[in-house]
C-alpha cells in the first residue's frame, strides 16, 4: 500500500493544478478574511468609528480561527472538490486506469491509495491557510499596534482537525462524482453547481418548505457549518463564508459527514472495482 500511496502522492505533487488550487485557495482566503476587511476598516472613517473596532478585533491573531473557519465549508470545499475530481477524473480522461490496473496492485488498492493521497494532499490546504492567515493577522496587529496574542492552542488544533474533516468530505464527494461521470468536466461543473448554487437555493427555502428543511439537513454545507458551532464560531448570512440555512447539532453533523464520506467512497470503490475499463473516455 505504501508503494501505491507513494505513486499517487507523486502524481499529485508533480501536477501543477494541485499547486495552483492551493495558491488560489490561500489567496482567496487571505483576501476575503484579511485584505478586503482591512481596506474596509482603513478606507472609511465613519465605518471605522462605528463598527471598525469589532472588525479589527476579528482580524487579530487571537481570532484566527473565527476569521478563517467560515471559508472551509464554502470555498475550501469547492477547491478541494476540484482537486479530487482532477485527481480521479483525469484517470478516465487520459485512459491511465489501463496501465494503473495492469501492474500488480488491485483496483481497490489503486483507488484507496489515491483517496489516501488526497487525504494527505488536503493537509496543506488546511495548514497553509492557517499559517498564511496567522501571518496576515500578525502584520495587521503590528501595523495597528494591537495585541499579537496567538489563538488558543486547543481551539486551533480542533479548528485544524474540523477544517481537514470538512475538506475530506468534499474530496470524497469529488471522487465519487468523477467516478460516476468518468471524467473531469461534468464532475467539476456538477460539483460547483451543487456547492455554490443548489445548496444555497434549497437552504434559503428550507425554513419555508418543510421537505427542503429535512433535505438540507444532509447537505454538506449545512453539516459543515453545524460542525463548527462548538468552536464558538457563528456565521451570518452576509458575505462570503456566510451561511443562512438551518443547522443541526455538532454531533449530528459529525455523524452525517462521516456517513457521507463512507457512502461517497463506498459507491466510488464499488464502481471502480466492477466497471469495465475500456480506454480513455
Amino acid at each position: 500500500m505504501l508503494d501505491a500511496l507513494a505513486a499517487q502522492l507523486l502524481l499529485l505533487r508533480k501536477r501543477a493544478a494541485t499547486w495552483i488550487l492551493l495558491c488560489f485557495w490561500m489567496l482567496v482566503t487571505v483576501v476575503f478574511a484579511y485584505v478586503l476587511p482591512y481596506f474596509a476598516y482603513k478606507g472609511d472613517i465613519r465605518f471605522r468609528a462605528r463598527t471598525g473596532g469589532v472588525l479589527l478585533s476579528v482580524m487579530l491573531p487571537h481570532n484566527l480561527v473565527s476569521s478563517l473557519l467560515g471559508g472551509f465549508p464554502a470555498f475550501g470545499g469547492i477547491f478541494v472538490l476540484i482537486l479530487a475530481v482532477l485527481a480521479m477524473g483525469s484517470e478516465y480522461t487520459w485512459g491511465t486506469l489501463t496501465p494503473a490496473f495492469t501492474q500488480k496492485a488491485s483496483r481497490l488498492k489503486v483507488f484507496f491509495s489515491k483517496v489516501l493521497a488526497l487525504a494527505i494532499a488536503i493537509v496543506p490546504f488546511v495548514v497553509m491557510v492557517y499559517l498564511l492567515g496567522y501571518i496576515a493577522s500578525m502584520l495587521i496587529a503590528l501595523k495597528e499596534g494591537q495585541s499579537t496574542q496567538p489563538p488558543d492552542l486547543w481551539l486551533l488544533v480542533r479548528a485544524l482537525a474540523f477544517s481537514w474533516f470538512i475538506l475530506a468530505v468534499w474530496a470524497s464527494f469529488g471522487v465519487m462524482i468523477s467516478v460516476l461521470s468518468k471524467g473531469t468536466s461534468l464532475a467539476i461543473g456538477l460539483g460547483i453547481i451543487y456547492g455554490l448554487v443548489l445548496e444555497g437555493v434549497i437552504s434559503a427555502f428550507s425554513r419555508q418548505i418543510t421537505l427542503l428543511g429535512y433535505l438540507s439537513k444532509i447537505f454538506l454545507r449545512t453539516n459543515s457549518y453545524s460542525l463548527l458551532s462548538p468552536l464558538g464560531v457563528t456565521f451570518t448570512g452576509e458575505g462570503p463564508g456566510g451561511f443562512s440555512g438551518s443547522t443541526v447539532s455538532a454531533t449530528q453533523a459529525a455523524i452525517v459527514l462521516a456517513i457521507e464520506i463512507v457512502v461517497f467512497l463506498a459507491v466510488a470503490a464499488a464502481i471502480v472495482r466492477r466497471r469495465d475499463v475500456t480506454g480513455a473516455s
Partner: protein
C-alpha cells in the same frame, strides 16, 4: 485448423493463455466477443489478427482483467485475469499508450514501478531498450506518437514479464522505428517469454510470429502456424501442353479451377493429392515440370478467411 491435434497433446501448463467460450456482450445488441477459444503456448510469439471491430482489443482487455467476460472461462499464466498474481508477470501495451501528460517519461515509469513493486533500477534499462533514455526527462505531452509508443513498450518491459501482450505496438512509428520494433519484439520473444501481438500489419506478423489466430465477429476462425495457414487448398503446376493439361484436370473428381496464373496453372485441390494428380496427368501424356502447393501470403490468408476486400 482451430485447436489442432498437436495442441491437444500439449500439457495444460504449457498454455500460458487459455480461453474457453469467452464471450463479451456490452449491450443486448453488441456482441464483441463470441465464444472465443484460444490457447497460447509458453515461449511463442502469437499473432492475433482480425478486421476492425472483430473483438481483438476486447479480448486483450479481458485477458488483462480490465473487462469482465459475460460468459466463458479464461486463464492467464494459470491465474484468473486481473489478479495481482497474473498481472505481476505480465507486461502490456493496449491501444494507444496512456500516460500522465504532465509527467516525464521517467516519472511515468516511476508511477508504474511503484504500482508493480518493481525497483526503480529497472526503469533506465527499459528506457534504453526502446531508445528513449535521452528524452526520459521530457514531459510525456511533448513526445511524438512514435515516442509515446516506445514509452508504452518500455512500460510493458518494466516488470521483465513472462507474458507480453501488445496491441498494435508499431502504431505511429516510422519505417525505421517499425523495423526496430520488429527486431525488439523478435528478441523479446526468444527464450521463455511469450508474446501475444495484435496487429493489422500482416507483413509485420509474418516476420515475427510463430503462430497466428484469426478472429472475426468475435470468434476465432483459424489458428495455426504460419506454414499451416499459408498452405491453402490450392496447387500450382507447370505442364505441357497446357490445353491438354486443363482438359485432363477438369475431369478429375474434386479438382476445380485450372486457371492460368503467371505461367502456372492454379487448381483448387488439396496439396495431399499432388502425387495422384501428377500421375493422372503423366498417364494422359502431359509433361509436368513443376507441381506444388500455393503458398499464400498471410495477408491473402487473412483476406480469404475474413472475406475482406483487398
Amino acid at each position: 485448423m482451430n485447436g489442432d491435434i498437436n495442441d491437444m497433446k500439449q500439457p495444460m501448463d504449457n498454455f500460458i493463455v487459455e480461453t474457453k467460450n469467452l464471450t463479451k456482450r456490452y449491450r443486448p445488441d453488441i456482441l464483441a466477443v463470441n465464444g472465443l477459444a484460444m490457447r497460447i503456448r509458453r515461449g511463442e510469439v502469437y499473432g492475433f489478427v482480425g478486421p476492425n471491430g472483430a473483438g481483438k482489443t476486447t479480448t486483450l482487455r479481458m485477458l488483462l482483467g480490465l473487462v469482465r467476460p459475460s460468459a466463458g472461462e479464461c486463464t492467464v499464466l494459470g491465474e484468473k485475469p486481473g489478479t495481482p498474481a497474473a498481472l505481476a508477470r505480465m507486461g502490456t501495451l493496449v491501444e494507444t499508450p496512456a500516460f500522465y501528460p504532465y509527467l516525464s517519461g521517467r516519472d511515468n515509469l516511476r508511477v508504474l514501478a511503484r504500482l508493480s513493486d518493481t525497483p526503480y533500477s529497472r526503469i533506465d534499462p527499459a528506457l534504453e531498450e526502446v531508445e528513449l533514455l535521452k528524452r526520459a526527462g521530457h514531459k510525456f505531452k511533448s513526445y511524438s506518437l512514435g515516442m509515446k509508443q516506445r514509452l508504452g513498450m518500455a512500460a510493458a518491459l518494466l516488470k521483465d514479464p513472462e507474458l507480453l501482450i501488445l496491441d498494435e505496438p508499431t502504431n505511429g512509428l516510422d519505417p525505421a522505428g517499425m523495423a526496430e520494433m520488429r527486431r525488439l519484439i523478435r528478441s523479446l520473444g526468444r527464450g521463455e517469454r511469450t508474446v501475444m501481438l495484435s496487429s493489422h500489419l500482416m507483413g509485420e506478423l509474418e516476420q515475427i510470429c510463430d503462430r497466428v489466430g484469426v478472429v472475426k465477429n468475435g470468434s476465432l476462425i483459424a489458428e495455426g502456424s504460419l506454414d499451416d495457414l499459408r498452405h491453402g487448398a490450392q496447387l500450382r503446376l507447370k505442364a505441357e501442353p497446357e490445353a491438354r493439361a486443363r482438359e485432363v484436370l477438369e475431369k478429375i473428381e474434386g479438382v476445380a479451377g485450372a486457371e492460368p496464373v503467371n505461367g502456372y496453372l492454379v487448381i483448387d485441390a488439396s496439396p495431399a493429392r499432388a502425387a495422384e494428380i501428377n500421375r493422372i496427368l503423366v498417364e494422359a501424356g502431359v509433361a509436368v515440370s513443376e507441381l506444388g502447393p500455393v503458398k499464400l501470403s498471410l495477408e491473402n490468408v487473412f483476406l480469404n478467411l475474413t472475406g475482406e476486400e483487398a
